[in-house]
Symmetry: C2
Subunit: 247 residues, 2 copies
């Protein structure tokens, strides 16, 4: 069987409000789950403020290193929304009101009996050469430039944009996972677990501690793109830990 | 009045489970809120996998750039917990079982009628020269090395460690904030808001769109360390937007 190439991505969350703690981010978890589910490996996340130099520097670093970069935040109509201009700067291309985006916004506002204003037109500023990403919820589009997908910060809109661009993404092997709940503290199973990792070096094994009913417990998570190998590793681990295995 | 110097920090979240979407991070928001509240400016967050090279590279970049670096995750007893060893590598110091940490763990397990095991002893591995951070909840300590604070990934434990180290942190001016809810879409108030930012360049102003009762709305957030200036900027903004101001 030919090995599928792994496809990598990073996420850049843009916004002072996340760093001040005012808004608790909900995009990282949602984007991570979505990408994992379609066979793209999220390798890094960064959160930066609404500051052009910081955005440009992070975009430069991340878009060169990974197959895709997704960003959330900073594409609204207010003066603190500087993502589109920062992206133009990062790519060294001009930015101006885009005729396609202007049409989308005009239609959107006209349909609601509202006028175009300078602030609304600001959301039609798109870097030259970018493709638009449809916003099914609130009009103002995101855009794709090179390997960077620029999405809204509002979680429902970000999700809708991510769904929209999914068909155009190349994907790699889907990482399958099995989670084995253990009602013992990690420290009791760690030696057995480490020995098991040695037996299956091709299966990623992680342990995530938590309190279950107020007592230290763990979820052991095994990951592999190979369904049979994963099932074997999980079953032999359960046996090694003295847990009942599925019949 | 002498200007207080701004104290900066970054947060590094370490863990495959956040990047796979299996676990939704809860430390970013909590650390951000806490630091803002005590007068430390969180300038950047990164999430990296349980991979030594990635951890070392992020630690190197962030600890040099900011006054403090806080990390969460990867200090448990299982083989995928590699934060302590990675930190030793980043600082170029040896790492071994630390007598102080071993004592804490021995006492913790003895008090529960449990024996010390190799896996448990693994949590006493601390880079040379580090100070311990007490773990009031589950025994295994975090540590401070240089300007880096290495904390657990379990949110309650991370929070407890952060509280513990707070008295030793230098802090700067506390950024105060006022949030003005507006029941109109951002695009209707953006021009007025931008003009107001021009009038008060020393007050940070951000707009955060949301749906309120299913309709587009926004919270306008003003931030400044100067209480009087902040109150004036907020009151004049409310007047400019035609909102009733507090008597």
């Amino acid at each position: 069987m030919a090995e599928e190439r792994i496809v990598t991505a990073a996420l850049l969350v843009i916004g002072d409000e996340i760093l001040s703690g005012r808004t608790h981010d909900r995009n990282i978890g949602a984007v991570a789950e979505h990408l994992t589910g379609i066979g793209i490996k999220l390798c890094e996340v960064r959160v930066v403020p609404d500051d052009e130099a910081e955005i440009v520097s992070a975009v430069d670093a991340l878009r060169r290193r990974y197959d895709y970069l997704f960003t959330t935040g900073g594409i609204g109509p207010t003066h603190d929304d500087i993502t589109a201009d920062s992206m133009a700067k990062a790519f060294g291309v001009p930015i101006d009101v885009d005729a396609r985006a202007e049409k989308i916004l005009s239609d959107y506002y006209a349909g609601r009996g509202l006028e175009m204003t300078p602030a609304r037109l600001r959301m039609a500023r798109i870097p030259a050469g970018a493709d638009l990403i449809e916003n099914a919820l609130s009009g103002a589009p995101g855009f794709r430039i090179g390997n960077v997908f620029v999405m809204a910060g509002v979680p429902s809109v970000a999700q809708s944009m991510l769904q929209k661009v999914t068909p155009e993404l190349k994907t790699g092997p889907k990482l399958l996972s099995v989670s084995i709940p253990v009602n013992r503290p990690e420290s009791e199973i760690a030696d057995t677990f480490a020995a098991h990792q040695q037996l299956y070096p091709d299966v990623q094994m992680g342990s995530y501690p938590l309190l279950r009913d107020g007592r230290p417990a763990a979820d052991l998570v095994l990951r592999s793109p190979d369904r049979e190998r994963l099932a074997e590793a999980a079953e032999t681990l359960m046996t090694a830990l003295g847990l009942p295995t599925p019949a």
